[in-house]
Subunit: 174 residues, 2 copies
């Protein structure tokens, strides 16, 4: 069975709504998509404070699912070995929150198939779905770039814009 490594933040979990809520609460306005599309959302003016909130207890506990992620991952898990990985090791509280989040939203994936790491260079698989070029660049299997604002203009990888496109890709894959 071939192995797919699937990233969490901005792939399975949608981080932007929470970030935008925090921004709006702090600065009284919600940034427009054009302000951050093509850039890191954390590079918005004055957003350093919001970036720091990722270290707070609870930040990762209640992130919404990326649309379609659960259904498509469940389908894929019938034909592939799924490993869910996250490089959020920088955020100490995130470990337990991510563990609980996965058990809540992806109960059909065993904890045996969770990987929490810092750097993803030590991971091995046949496919990697990730929004960060730095993770895909070192991967020895087939990398798939999941669209996020910070990678919008990257052209070096096969791109999947959403979970429908992931489904379509693997329907065509061997």
């Amino acid at each position: 069975m071939k192995r797919i490594l699937i990233d969490m933040d901005e792939v399975l979990a949608d981080v932007y709504p929470k970030f935008l809520d925090l921004f709006e609460r702090e600065f009284g306005r919600r940034p427009e998509r054009e302000e951050y599309w093509g850039k890191k959302i954390y590079d918005l003016p004055n957003a350093d404070w919001i970036r720091e909130r990722l270290h707070d207890k609870g930040f990762f506990a209640d992130l919404p699912l990326m649309p379609g992620s659960r259904e498509v991952v469940q389908e894929l898990s019938e034909r592939y070995e799924i490993f869910i990985n996250s490089a959020a090791m920088e955020f100490r509280y995130s470990l337990q929150e991510k563990y609980d989040w996965l058990q809540e939203h992806f109960p059909f994936i065993s904890w045996r198939n969770f990987v929490f790491c810092g750097d993803k260079r030590a991971l091995r698989g046949d496919y990697m779905i990730d929004d960060h070029v730095k993770n895909l660049r070192h991967f020895q299997g087939t990398p798939l770039l999941f669209t996020a604002s910070h990678n919008a203009f990257e052209t070096d990888f096969i791109r999947v814009n959403n979970w429908e496109e992931v489904r379509a890709y693997f329907r065509g894959a061997v």
Copy 2:
């Protein structure tokens, strides 16, 4: 730089003293080495209750260092890329405790090089130091079996009995 993957429990951290303390407190006597050598310590009669303690908050927080582990890992980190990994994903509270334990005892290893997982088949490196045959068996690099009671009679792998032997092995390795 070649990459060494190093396991935590029973390799960097010494789990047995804590296990034996709990056994002694519960049953009024400390098991002799002959009772568990060559077997899983958790298979001692009535030890199920103690095995369950691994799920308790705090179990992994104060484990002693395996003798020599810090010094030898520090030496190795000058010539190799060190990734510390642990398959304790089964124990929900262990994640944060292991993170803090590593930052306390191995401050020269970045959190970028920590990997917490369930199954180690998705890991990649040049060497793996581990006490579990099931982890070494699937590894594509060079596996080194770190002696623990449960693997005492295994003969399929290069064996290192302690951290002095790890040091000696890598002094001779390319």
